[in-house]
C-alpha cells in the first residue's frame, strides 16, 4: 500500500506540463516515470496543451493579445524497471507548434510546424523508495529546420532543438506518518543545453540552460468508492538566455513561477488517469516575449509487471 502511495506521489510532480517557448521541446517537466518494482513496464500517454498569449517585457504585461503561440504535444513515455533500483525511461514527443497573429486590421496570420520532437533517454537509480536520481540525454531527433512557404522558421517554432542536451533528474517523495495518504514531494530537473550548429544553415543556436524546482502536496480521497488524488504544486522554472552564434538572443529565457493544481485517479490495478493545469503566478522574461497564459496536461499511465502473468487492465 505504501509503495502504491509513493508511486502516486512521485507521478504527480513528474507529470507536470510543458513549458514553451523553450524551443518547442516540452520535455523537461514531463520526464521521469515513477519508481516501480523489478520487471514493471510503464507506458505513459499524455496530451499537453500550452497556450502563450500574454506579451510581456520583463515582468510588465504589454496588454497586447494580438500574438498567440500554442504547443500541442502528444507525449509517449516508456519505462522499464530492470532491477528494484535501476530503471530506464524513454520519452518520445510529437509536437505541433502554432503561431497566430491577429492584426488590428483584422487579418490573421497563421504558421505551424509539427513532427517528432527530441527523444529523451533517462536511466534512473532509486536509492530508496523515496529518492530517485537520474542522468540522461535529449537526442536531437526532431527537425530544427522546418520552413513555412519556403521560409525557415525560428528556433522556438521548430519541433526539435537540433542540439544534444544533458539532463539531471532528482525526485523525492514522502508521506506524513500521522496521515499516510497525505504526501509531499519535490523534484529538481536540470537541462544543460547543447548547441545546434546548423541553425539557419551554418549558424549556431543554443537555448539557455533550464532549471526546474518543484514542490507539492497530495492527498488521497475516497469518494463513492472512487479513489481521487488531488494535488497542488509550486513549480519554479529558470531558463537562461538563448544564444545565436554565441551572441545573446533574448528569445525564450526568463524566470517563471507556476501554481499547478491537479487530480489523478487509479482506474484499475494497471491504469491511472491524471489531469492538471499550470497557472503562472510570476513571470519575468528576458527581453520581450509571449509568456505562458495557461497549460493543461492530461494522460493515462499503463503499468504492467511483465513477470506476472495475471496482469489485467
Amino acid at each position: 500500500m505504501m509503495r502504491i502511495l509513493l508511486f502516486s506521489l512521485i507521478i504527480l510532480p513528474t507529470k507536470l506540463i510543458a513549458q514553451c517557448c523553450s524551443g518547442g521541446v516540452p520535455m523537461s517537466n514531463n520526464i521521469g516515470l515513477p519508481s516501480a518494482e523489478k520487471g514493471v513496464l510503464q507506458l505513459n500517454l499524455n496530451y499537453d496543451w500550452n497556450n502563450l498569449q500574454n506579451l510581456k517585457s520583463e515582468s510588465s504585461s504589454l496588454n497586447d493579445n494580438s500574438r498567440q503561440r500554442e504547443t500541442h504535444s502528444l507525449l509517449f513515455e516508456l519505462g522499464y524497471t530492470i532491477t528494484d533500483r535501476f530503471s530506464v525511461d524513454l520519452f518520445v514527443p510529437f509536437i505541433r507548434q502554432e503561431r497566430t497573429i491577429t492584426s488590428s486590421f483584422g487579418s490573421i496570420d497563421f504558421d505551424k510546424t509539427q513532427g517528432l520532437g527530441d527523444i529523451v533517454i533517462l536511466p534512473k537509480f532509486s536509492f530508496t523508495d523515496k529518492i530517485t536520481f537520474g542522468i540522461g540525454a535529449k537526442i536531437p531527433t526532431g527537425d530544427s529546420d522546418r520552413s513555412d512557404d519556403g521560409i525557415t522558421l525560428v528556433a522556438d517554432l521548430q519541433p526539435g532543438s537540433g542540439a544534444l542536451d544533458g539532463i539531471l533528474y532528482f525526485a523525492y517523495a514522502n508521506y506524513l506518518n500521522t496521515r499516510p495518504s497525505l504526501g509531499y514531494f519535490g523534484n529538481v530537473i536540470f537541462r544543460a543545453t547543447g548547441e545546434n550548429d546548423s541553425y539557419f544553415g551554418s549558424s549556431t543556436y543554443q537555448f539557455g540552460n533550464e532549471l526546474q524546482l518543484i514542490a507539492g502536496v497530495s492527498d488521497r480521497l475516497i469518494i463513492s468508492k472512487l479513489q481521487i488524488d488531488p494535488s497542488l504544486k509550486l513549480r519554479y522554472r529558470e531558463a537562461g538566455k538563448d544564444f545565436f552564434d554565441e551572441a545573446e538572443f533574448p528569445n525564450s529565457g526568463g524566470s517563471f513561477l507556476f501554481l499547478n493544481p491537479g487530480v489523478s485517479t487509479v482506474l484499475s490495478q494497471a491504469l491511472s488517469w491524471q489531469i492538471n493545469t499550470s497557472i503562472p503566478i510570476y513571470t519575468f522574461v528576458d527581453g520581450t516575449q509571449l509568456s505562458p497564459t495557461i497549460q493543461v496536461n492530461t494522460g493515462l499511465l499503463f503499468r504492467m509487471n511483465l513477470k506476472q502473468k495475471d496482469f489485467e487492465l
Partner: protein, 356 residues
Amino acid sequence: MKQAFTLTLLLLFVGCGKEEDPSTKATTTIYSEWLIPTSLVFDGGPGKDGIPALENPEMAVIGDANLKFMKDSDLVLVYRNSGEVRAYAHPVLDWHEIINDQIGDDHVAVTYCPLTGTGIGWGRELNGEITTFGVSGFLYETNLMPYDRLTDSYWSQMFNQCVNGYLFEEIPQFFNLIQMNYGALKNLFPNAMVTTSNTGHIRDYNSYPYGSYQTNSNFLFPISNSDDRLHPKEWVRGVEINGSAKVYQFPSSGGRELILDQFNGEEIIVVADKSKGFIVSFLNRTIESHELAFSLTDNEDSNIILEDQLGNKWDLFGKAVEGPNAGLELEVPYSYMGFWFAWATFYPDIALYEAE
C-alpha cells in the same frame, strides 16, 4: 470517470493531428517567385504584424509632456514637406519599425530596421492607390521586409524593391529622411512635431528592446557578407549611384565636416556633424553654368549648413533658403543612414570614403 477516460483518449489521439479551421486560421499567400534568395530570408520570430506598424501616430511639439520619454541622445528621422517638419523617434520605431503617415500631400511610410539601423522613407501610393505598409516578420540579410496592405506583396527595405507578390520588381518612391539626435532637433527645428509615446500600444519606449545590439559586434540573424574595415555597428551614410554604393563616416574629430567627393561620375556633397548625429548628402549642380563651390556656414546651431560662391545659403534638406537662387533645391541621391555591416552586406564591393 469513464467520461474523463474517454476524453483523455480523445485528446491523446486527436490533439496533435488536428486540422486548423480555415475560417479562423488564415495563412498568408506567398508567391513562388522571389527576387532574392529565400535561403537568406528568415522568419524573425514575432510573425506577420507581430510587430505592429503605426498609422498616423500622435505627434506633439517639442516640449510636450508626452515627449518626456525622449532623451537628447535619442535619434530621430526627420522629414519635411510644405514647411512642416516631422520627426519620427527611434525609441518608437525600435518597437514598431514602420510608421505610415501623411505630411502635407506626401503619403510616406517611414521604414526603420532596428537590426540594420536603416531608416528609409517610402511612398505609400502603389498602383494609383494609397495604402500602408506593415511588418511582414521576415528578414532578408537581417533587414526589415515590409509588406503592403494593398496587394500583400513582400518588399525588402535595403534591396529597395518588391521581392515577392503581385507588385514583383516594383521600386518604391524614395523620400529623404535626415537622421539626427533629439538634442539637435530641438536646436535646429524647434517647431518640429515628434511622435509621442501615445501609440495605442503599451511598450517601454524608455528602453531599447535589443540590449547591447547597437554597440556590440554580434548579429541576430545570418548575413552573407561581412567587411571588417569598420566596426559593424558604426553609423554611416551610404550613397548609391547607378547600383554602386559608397559610405561616409562621421568625422573622427567630432566636429562638423564638409566632404566634396566624386563617385560613379557624380559630384557628391556630404556634410557630417557628429555632435548632432547627422550626415546629409547631395548631388552638386550648376546654376547658369556656374558649378557651385560650397563651404560650411559658421553657425552650427542653425539648420542652414552650406553657402556657395553665389551668395546662396542652403539648409539641411538641400534647399536654398537665402540668396539669389532661394527656392532651388539640391538633388538628394538615393542615400540613408545605417550600420556599416548592413551596407557592406547589401553592397559587397562598397567603397568607403577616406580623406586624402
